[in-house]
Symmetry: C2
Subunit: 131 residues, 2 copies
């Protein structure tokens, strides 16, 4: 599977909120790097959980510029979304293995008001499962 | 000037902290999109000021993955830096005009502790000049 094939599936998953397909494109040892915490979450389960929550929380979730680098086996995906009356921009910085599976998923978000709106929604959900 | 030529100059400027060259690669109407504020700063002067401050504040400022997209006349540049005992990751999302001049410079930073460390350093500097 190429990086582009995985990204195509990713966009299908996002569009359909088809979270059951998520684990099929994520490596078992995938790492999630959150916009909030420095320490990574080193498990596919954590990554799947977080992405699932985000797909519930984000309104008008839209991808914009997308760049793929074969040399670093990476893709950078720019997005925007709303949470209530807050608008945010973000980037997914994704690494893939030779099979095209996601091995690292790092997210950054701006501005501060959007980041805080996401924190407000995410914190109780993550606390509930001990993350 | 190609996007890559401008990026080469950008990296020379960062390496040498040669801020006097900054305006030569930035369009007069360039917009800065800060990691903190939603509202853009629509002036080259603001962008030059902010980049100058950041070059003073960041320790061990290092660029990592870099992707250029000719179609969207853009480049995404991943970086890391330290501020005191805080380590941060960030991305510069840069747009260029047909002459290779920077027209938009958007920055995102993670994690929250790194973002807050930068805010603490930047806020008084920006307030001092009324930004």
């Amino acid at each position: 599977m190429s990086i582009q094939s995985t990204l195509d599936i990713w966009h299908e998953i996002v569009a359909a909120k088809d979270i059951e397909r998520l684990p099929t494109i994520i490596h078992a040892d995938a790492v999630f790097r959150s916009p909030f915490a420095f320490k990574p979450y080193p498990s596919r389960a954590a990554l799947v959980f977080v992405l699932t929550q985000v797909l519930e929380i984000f309104e008008d979730f839209t991808y914009h510029r997308e760049m793929v680098c074969d040399e670093s086996q990476s893709a950078f995906l720019e997005f925007s979304a709303n949470i209530g009356d807050k608008t945010l921009k973000g980037i997914d910085m994704v690494r893939f293995d030779q099979e095209g599976l996601i091995t690292e998923f790092e997210v950054m978000i701006r501005p501060m008001s959007g980041l805080m709106a996401l924190a407000e929604q995410m914190a109780p959900r993550m606390a509930k499962i001990g993350l």
